[in-house]
Symmetry: C2
Subunit: 224 residues, 2 copies
């Protein structure tokens, strides 16, 4: 099965959580919008399949949107999910909490509106980011630090790698200060980064660098 | 099967999307936190089952959180989902977009931080709500208006009822102005409200009225 991933070509964004799973599994996939005329293809498929927003995945005749649901679908097929239905639902539930967390990361630099520039909402961003750093970040990090996860590596572990990676990029001073409180998440980050296929991907040109158009952005004024 | 729903007892909030499905199906369920000592029971179960946030559902030995996932689980069991696996995934995907939409409704009155009062973020709320009314609301309403839904009633139809109901409460002037552009959503709202079990529920004391602690709140300054 050759999977077709559709996502904005210039950012890691939500699509990256899917890329990490596909890459770690060594799956056969095409990152459609990054190919010549790929954006046109994406817009065509979005309209045709009534997709609200990227990312979405084509797998044969199936078209699936929503990051967590794509991972719920791919997980068992990529060997990145537990065997039992109950455990798979549990994993999906955790991934949905990652989705919620990611919205809150995004809103630190876009608290007023996603169609406006950061530059048009700087004072609001400072307030929102302060709340995020003091209240929300410890809540999410603490939750996932304490969460008993299955031993077997799943897409959730890859997503938690990405959260730590992204938070380090966006909030370097904050993360440097608080990370020691979350040794399991830090260890998970190292373990994932050392997986051969993932390491090769991260070192490749396929990995889009973090930048100021993505979800994780570094604005010094928003860090501690 | 007697289901146990756990959610904040004073608001409709996210839990209401689950209540609507349970009520419309005439399911046997307990709204645990609304019973004597129910909040204690909820806190106990949350901790015990490592739940990030309400709502969550207990169904036998299974404990499930995340609104859309609870509906994905309940849908087939309540006769509120299509038969095929592909169609059920599709429905879940749509419900996840409702979840995204609901976060944006919430953030109109809490753009800076959910642990702060609205009164502490009024100017930011005015900006965020203006962006929501002009950009986001038409995007979501238009998307669901155009979406080809299965004929058979599903939990998504009940959730779309709740979105229209809540938006009318929160943004009455805006909705009065724009609703005629979304005749299918309005017709769906009427059709759901006329379903006997749902109508009985809506007229009962089990239906918590909209209020200023919930996700849908009416602040005149945030309406058009």
């Amino acid at each position: 099965m050759r999977y077709e991933l559709y996502y904005w070509p210039m950012i890691q964004g939500r699509g990256e959580f899917i890329r990490l799973a596909l890459e770690d599994a060594g799956a056969d996939y095409v990152d459609v919008a990054r190919r010549p005329r790929g954006m046109q293809a994406m817009m065509f498929q979005m309209k045709r399949n009534q997709v609200f927003a990227p990312p979405f995945l084509r797998a044969g005749t199936l078209v699936i949107a929503q990051t967590a649901m794509i991972l719920h679908y791919l997980g068992p097929r990529l060997g990145l999910a537990p065997k039992s239905v109950a455990q798979r639902l549990w994993l999906h539930q955790q991934q949905l909490t990652i989705s919620d967390w990611l919205v809150e990361v995004h809103d630190t630099h876009h608290p007023v509106g996603s169609e406006l520039y950061y530059e048009d909402q700087k004072p609001e961003s400072r307030r929102r980011a302060a709340d995020f750093r003091s209240a929300r970040l410890p809540k999410f990090l603490g939750y996932f630090e304490r969460l008993e996860r299955p031993r077997r590596v799943t897409y959730l572990d890859l997503s938690l790698f990405q959260m730590v990676e992204g938070l380090r990029y966006a909030f370097p001073r904050t993360m440097a200060r608080v990370e020691r409180k979350y040794p399991k998440l830090v260890a998970n980050h190292e373990r994932m980064a050392a997986r051969p296929r993932l390491a090769a991907y991260l070192a490749s040109k396929r990995r889009i660098p973090f930048n100021q158009q993505g979800i994780f952005r570094h604005y010094s004024a928003l860090d501690a």
